[in-house]
Symmetry: C2
């Protein structure tokens, strides 16, 4: 998001067939809620086009990347790594520390898995963070995490070069071409 250090989202462990829409939603939620790019690992790379199509239609900047080596992407990240997992420390207990580092200028990589995440990811992360210690959804966890990180300011993010702009309505739909 403009005016903040970079935020990227690394999507691990996409299972073909099962996770198609989840991976798309991880990428779209990352874009909508203030991240600057998403990195799709291995099989999840098949969803890149769908996300790029939304960037093309609704605006950017937002980058979609793919990697054959998510561990390298994680290890080479020059900044803080936050792995979202139901086994981690409660977000309400650690978000202050994470936000302080972020606001001091440190880029942040948020990591979300699909199926079982290998143990070395837990070790490689600077923070293992739980949006509740309950099983639910990596999309929901990512959304709440980004909204807390940006303290709601991402909701007012503006977009460059959109072909379509939604005009908010109390009822119905309005879309304009700027």
């Amino acid at each position: 998001m403009q005016g903040t250090p970079e935020v990227a989202v690394l999507r691990l462990g996409h299972r073909p067939g099962r996770d198609e829409r989840m991976t798309t939603h991880v990428g779209l939620a990352a874009r909508a809620l203030g991240a600057d790019r998403v990195i799709l690992a291995r099989e999840g790379a098949s969803r890149a086009g769908t996300i790029e199509d939304i960037v093309d239609r609704f605006g950017g900047p937002f980058a979609v990347e793919t990697t054959d080596s998510p561990r390298a992407a994680l290890k080479d990240w020059d900044g803080a790594v936050v792995h979202l997992t139901m086994y981690g420390l409660p977000i309400q207990d650690v978000e202050g520390e994470i936000r302080t580092t972020f606001e001091a200028g440190t880029p942040l990589l948020a990591v979300v898995g699909a199926g079982k995440v290998p143990f070395d990811i837990y070790e490689a992360a600077d923070h293992n963070v739980a949006v509740t210690n309950q099983p639910h959804s990596e999309v929901a966890s990512l959304a709440v995490f980004l909204d807390h990180l940006f303290e709601g300011e991402e909701l007012d993010r503006e977009w460059e070069d959109p072909k379509h702009v939604v005009v908010p309505q109390s009822e119905g739909k309005q879309v304009k071409e700027p």
Copy 2:
């Protein structure tokens, strides 16, 4: 959630094959983030067992219901109806009013669609609310909406009769049986 008016989530428009995991994640995110029950319309009812299994293992109370008539569920709701849609009014502009009504004792039904939502749903809702006016994810929208509604207090929700309890860890996984 204990101590608040009832919150239910109505899941519309499940498309078999395509939306299996999305509907499961809607139900699990609803449970984890403070709702009291989820109502699955039509084809989405196939996901009830998966959500109930999590309630059985990780605790409740949380109800899973199914309906053949989502419009009746919506029309008969005795309280406020909030439809989450990218075409609606920005959450940051309307959440104060919604929360005031809720905290005064009015139950709330949050409605999330999958594919295209029929126009009469927009008309039947008291509020059409956008978690950004960008296309992303009904799971992400629901998560941010519930977190704003409860102002983060849902993150401390306690659970009755769990068979498994996660013990938060800075690294690794710990699950105990209480």
